[in-house]
């Protein structure tokens, strides 16, 4: 009975409750109407407004206020604690590459911030939208060599699309909106926001408006239609046309437009390293990879084509070989969103500043249907030579030792080319690029322009978190693995069902290959001691298995792929083995060597 009467109704108590309620309501409305919150809360709220779901980061002294605010938003936003800031930025990159959304990472000032530098440079050269938020000492201490103060804006200026230091809390919402807009539009890239401690702890009147226009920055998405017409004429007249497709086609999600175009006009298409998983490998017009360790046909025939249509690629030196001998006979049409890429390395007869998807859409109706079977047979001829002299030997080796290529070939078969593959940097990367037969758009992720060893483990974490339904497999050499090996703990703590294959040859294989071929076999510091990775994995409670014999390969790989938990496979592969074909440094594309 007493319970039912409590709290007492009417009279004094009711009045008292009314007063109490009104007090709460007024203070509540004060808060609502003025929206006063701290800079740190504004950071998190701004990210939530932008639809950011995950942050990869590592706390430290000057970013504690932001982490303190983050504690209030555990439901809305997931934070992944990495073990080193380089892991955070690569994870953000992997997330961005796999999802097409902006990847976000947090780090503290000083060493935390400088640990991001490699990943920021990587994102810059590979056009990956990443937002890095770093803590900074209070603005009264800026420039005074304070504890953990580093000039992050100065350091990152050459390697960011944009950066900004916030010293006033009121700037936070508009700067985050601007940063996200810059990161994801035009040619995507990394942005850094350095937030001084005083801006994190002082209050601002919060309201959020997404950025959709910057007067001084207006990327040109639509192509010049006269140029499109001339391009179409050139393609229609071509006897031996070749399409070079790059990362830009994947970024603008133009894979269907590309397919429509090339199928209509029977255009053989070759891909840059970052363009590899644009459309299925087994498509008859997919002629494989360009460049230093690319396929035989497209490299040689680059110098026989009469018209080259390059889309969303930047004629990197690893693609062109010796520029003086590169495609001199061809008329070149170059489509890129970044005007600075046109005529940078290779002169274009028809330069086209545009988004790949919009440009291809405009091009398709003007292109004539053609079959071009003679020209296509030439590719098949070289494909056959490469198969006989390189590929067959690699995937069906005679010796006792397992080759990297047979592992990747088997993995490719077992996953039907549909897993998301994240390759690190080195021989295993080139082998994975060559032998993983991708059948799904954007399922091959690797560090292309910067060639960052240690990329794959954290990037795969980001890719797996971004696309939880995908099977994500990191392929890593024993050298690269030891560069960011600490992120194994992140996988366990976050329960990320990542699959890791270590191709272990106890060498820095790619450098060793160069030493063998070009440095008189003087193997200067490339033999590498590596630990027992299975024993190491066990200490993290990570399931792991070692493969040393070919007979184990098939069944172990099946178990590995079936597992729902994270799993590490250490596969001991043939050491002192070289990747071919190869265009030696300074040679031209048609001087590609098969052995």
């Amino acid at each position: 009975m007493i319970r039912n009467n409590y709290p007492p109704q009417g009279g004094f108590f009711s009045f008292w409750r009314y007063l109490k309620k009104m007090f709460h309501v007024t203070s509540f409305y004060l808060l609502i109407f003025t929206h006063m919150i701290t800079g740190s809360h504004a950071v998190i709220k701004s990210l939530i407004e932008e639809g950011i779901k995950v942050i990869f980061g590592y706390p430290g002294g000057q970013i504690i206020p932001i982490y303190d605010a983050l504690y209030d938003y555990k439901e809305e936003i997931n934070h992944v604690l990495v073990r080193h800031e380089q892991g955070a930025v690569h994870a953000a990159e992997g997330y961005a590459r796999a999802t097409g959304r902006v990847g976000v990472c947090f780090a503290t000032s000083g060493p935390g911030a400088t640990n991001l530098v490699t990943g920021i440079a990587d994102a810059m050269i590979d056009s990956v939208p990443v937002l890095c938020i770093t803590g900074q000492v209070g603005s009264n201490l800026l420039g005074s060599d304070a504890f953990q103060e580093v000039d992050m804006i100065g350091i990152t200026t050459p390697i960011t699309k944009w950066n900004y230091q916030i010293t006033d809390a009121a700037e936070i919402p508009q700067i985050i909106a601007k940063a996200i807009y810059i990161a994801r539009t035009g040619r995507p890239g990394p942005v850094v926001i350095d937030i001084a401690r005083n801006a994190q702890i002082s209050n601002l009147d919060f309201s959020y408006k997404k950025c959709s226009f910057i007067e001084s920055y207006q990327p040109n998405y639509s192509p010049n239609l006269r140029q499109i017409k001339s391009a179409a004429e050139l393609i229609n007249k071509a006897k031996r046309p070749l399409v070079l497709s790059g990362h830009g086609v994947i970024i603008s999600q133009a894979q269907n437009e590309l397919l429509t175009l090339i199928e209509k006009a029977s255009l053989p298409t070759a891909f840059t390293l970052l363009g590899l998983s644009t459309f299925p490998s087994r498509h008859p017009l997919n002629m494989g990879m360009l460049g230093m360790h690319g396929n035989y046909g497209p490299n040689i025939l680059t110098n026989k084509a009469d018209v080259i249509l390059a889309i969303g690629m930047r004629f990197d030196d690893r693609v062109t070989g010796r520029l003086a001998n590169y495609a001199k006979q061809a008329r070149i049409i170059h489509i890129d969103i970044d005007p600075a890429e046109l005529n940078k390395n290779v002169r274009a007869d028809i330069p086209l500043v545009a988004d790949a998807k919009i440009a291809l859409k405009a091009l398709i109706p003007l292109i004539e249907k053609k079959s071009r079977s003679n020209w296509l047979t030439e590719f098949n001829k070289y494909q056959k030579i490469e198969k006989e002299r390189v590929i067959h030997k690699e995937i069906h080796p005679k010796g006792n030792y397992i080759t990297m290529a047979e592992v990747i070939n088997l993995l490719s078969e077992k996953t039907s080319g549909k897993a998301v593959i994240v390759a690190d940097v080195g021989q295993h990367q080139m082998i994975t690029a060559r032998y993983y037969q991708s059948e799904k758009t954007n399922n091959f992720i690797t560090s292309g322009g910067l060639g960052t060893m240690g990329y794959a483990l954290p990037a795969a974490i980001g890719a797996q978190i971004g696309t939880p339904k995908n099977q994500v497999i990191a392929i890593i050499g024993d050298g690269s693995f030891q560069m960011n090996i600490q992120e194994l703990a992140t996988i366990i703590q976050e329960k990320i069902p990542l699959k890791i294959i270590i191709l272990k040859n106890n060498y820095l294989g790619m450098v060793r290959q160069w030493q063998e071929l070009f440095y008189k076999k003087r193997y200067s510091f490339t033999d590498l001691y590596s630990p027992d990775f299975v024993a190491l994995a066990k200490s993290y409670t990570l399931k792991a298995k070692k493969i040393i014999k070919r007979s184990q390969l098939n069944s172990c790989l099946s178990d590995f792929l079936k597992s729902k938990r994270p799993y590490l496979l250490e596969i001991n592969v043939k050491n002192k083995h070289n990747v071919f074909p190869m265009i030696p440094l300074g040679a031209s594309v048609d001087e590609i060597r098969l052995e």
Binding site: I153, G154, T157, P158, K161, W162, N163, Y164, Q165, I182, I214, E215, S216, Y217, D338, P339, A340, L342, N343, K344
Partner: protein, 157 residues
């Protein structure tokens, strides 16, 4: 070849760094650089003089456009622009003779004496590099105490 690059940009911190970094990356020495306000509020103009190959300059100009705050860039040869520099020359002048002679030279070059002390004169001259160096060489025998020169400013013809 000598190029004058004019870049208009929003006046924000860090833009100058991004602009000069592009020259640094290609190891191109900047002969002179002037940053100043323009007729539009919040917009600055960078005038950069470099001696470099035309095709490198073309590439740098495109890369300047990558900078978010940069609005417009142009590269010009001397024949397409009107340009000026300003110099201040502090020259020894103790006796009447040298004072008269310096005054005479100053008038010839349409320069001005802007400060006088017992021991020296300060001459201000505005013009192109040739005129400034011409006056400088003629004043040299009197003994130059200090010589400063601004960067180039330019306007398209």
């Amino acid at each position: 070849m000598k190029f004058t690059i004019s870049a208009f940009a929003e006046n924000k911190p860090g833009v100058l760094y991004r602009v000069t970094d592009l020259f640094l990356r290609r190891k191109i020495n900047i002969e002179s650089l002037t940053a100043s306000e323009t007729e539009k509020v919040g917009i600055s103009k960078f005038t950069i003089v470099v001696d470099a190959d035309a095709n490198i300059v073309e590439k740098i100009v495109k890369q300047l456009y990558r900078i978010i705050e940069v609005i417009k860039v142009s590269e010009n040869l001397d024949r397409d622009i009107v340009f000026r520099e300003i110099a201040l020359i502090k020259v020894h002048a103790k006796d009447l003779n040298s004072r008269q002679e310096i005054d005479h030279l100053t008038q010839l070059f349409k320069a001005k004496i802007i400060h006088v002390t017992k021991e020296s004169l300060i001459v201000e001259i505005a013009g192109d590099e040739e005129e400034i160096i011409g006056l400088f060489n003629l004043l040299k025998p009197f003994g130059i105490k200090e010589f400063v020169r601004s960067g180039r400013i330019s306007v398209l013809k």
